[in-house]
Chain length 277, copies 2
């Protein structure tokens, strides 16, 4: 999916909601446990209930890997089931030396390898340029680079002062130089920031890049502030919610309640989009 | 495996060799391609040929994931086949917010999850303390934290000046404070450094921690310098070789040639160990 396609999708669906498919087999409604692949059955119901309100889906790889080969099969089926008008994110936080990153890219992008065909993958920047570029060697595929994450540990290194900046700002600036002038086309940043001054600083460094914001819902964070300081004329935001949607109910009405949660977020997003010039 | 068990293993086998099982199905000897699981058959032969010369095996997850569910099955079988007197490393470079890192830890450490039971996993530090600690919640399991990697991109962020140090030095110092006074017991660092002054600086910061050095062989680097400046009275080093051993020959003699390569490294290591006070 291209930058302009993603942008169009946001305005058509009036939403920049990303649903995090952090599907934990231990949290599934009990009536699904008799299914042959309860994780896929659950994901299918969540997708059916939310697809018209959602621009992106983000399976978190850890939840699938923890099931071994069976989990990878659930992941493949989930990805195949996702509608074409949704952006897909492998939330995998990968990053290794060049030839290994190349294999991770093949895993997530090339369906002839592991049966996966994500639009994008989250990448950890610590190993630098040659650990990131192999993901961008795939046309039309995106890197979503960790910049400022939303967890307490983000203070340990990301906020270390480097010259006049903090490390995450160096990451945002440097990564753009790797990709060239159209870097915003396929380079997105994970930004857990929800405070006005942080978002303002980040937008100054990356005025057009999409930001993936994981901080709404279980991880805290205000949709209003994120939208006010993060939205751009192209949209420029994907705001993720996982647990609040997936586990809105543990009963037979789980999909219906998931839709209600997604709809509430989508309606707020439509209001924020209406304020754009 | 405990610190003292790993140390004993090094002196008993007179080796600190780690064999990287970066098994690429596209590089296997052609006579193996008819096997039902050529990757496992290859790994089995490499392990049989090198186990007495090797203290650690390090499957690189990217090579297995790129095969999808089938790759995970090859990985499970390989891990089950490894002899008990070898330290096992999941080279996965994981790291995410706390609950997700907890799931990755379960994946690699708890055999009831994905069928895996590694001794250790490589972890990327960018997301800080709460992304690392869930791996240490498992007794007797180790974290191998990326500090200074051996690839060109290590210059981008790891060598950024932070106060009077470089970022990788802050990582080494800070991570030790997370774990407490016996941090060396289960905290290892990935150090691609092969230069005397770098290793000397790192040893000053981490005098007892094991260092996993990936830089010998295909990635360049001198075993003599690494050994001279990296060895400690407990051993304190694991030096990895992958491609030089795995692909020493592409013919029917691949295992025999792999053994010869491993033996050459082991003999040099025995000489370096003999110089310890």
């Amino acid at each position: 999916m291209t930058y302009s396609e993603l942008s169009e999708l946001i305005f058509r669906k009036q939403s920049y909601l990303c649903v995090g498919l952090d599907t934990d087999p231990r949290k599934l409604p009990t009536h699904l446990l008799g299914e042959s692949d309860p994780v896929f059955t659950f994901n299918k119901a969540i997708i059916d209930a939310t697809a018209d309100l959602t621009v992106a889906y983000k399976p978190n790889l850890a939840f699938y890997e923890a099931q071994g080969p069976r989990g990878w099969e659930s992941l493949q089926k989930t990805l195949d089931y996702l509608p074409a008008d949704c952006f897909t994110i492998a939330d995998a936080k990968r990053g290794d030396i060049g030839n290994t990153s190349g294999l991770y890219a093949r895993t997530f992008f090339d369906p002839t390898a592991a049966g996966l065909h994500f639009d994008s993958v989250t990448v950890a920047p610590y190993m630098g340029q040659d650990s990131v570029m192999p993901f961008l060697d795939y046309n039309h595929k995106w890197v979503i680079l960790l910049a400022l994450t939303s967890n307490p540990g983000s203070a340990d290194f990301q906020r270390q002062p480097v010259a006049e900046q903090e490390l995450f700002e160096v990451v945002i600036e440097t990564a753009q130089t790797w990709v060239g002038p159209d870097h915003h086309e396929r380079l997105m940043f994970v930004v857990g920031a929800t405070q006005a001054d942080e978002l303002t600083r980040i937008r100054a460094l990356a005025p057009k890049n999409f930001l993936l914001v994981p901080g709404v819902g279980a991880q805290g964070g205000s949709l209003t502030d994120v939208s006010r300081y993060g939205l751009t004329p192209d949209g420029g935001l994907l705001v993720n919610a996982s647990r609040n949607i997936l586990y809105a109910s543990s009963g037979a009405d789980f999909a219906e309640r998931a839709r209600a949660e997604a709809q509430s977020l989508q309606r707020q997003m439509a209001e924020h989009l209406a304020t754009l010039p």
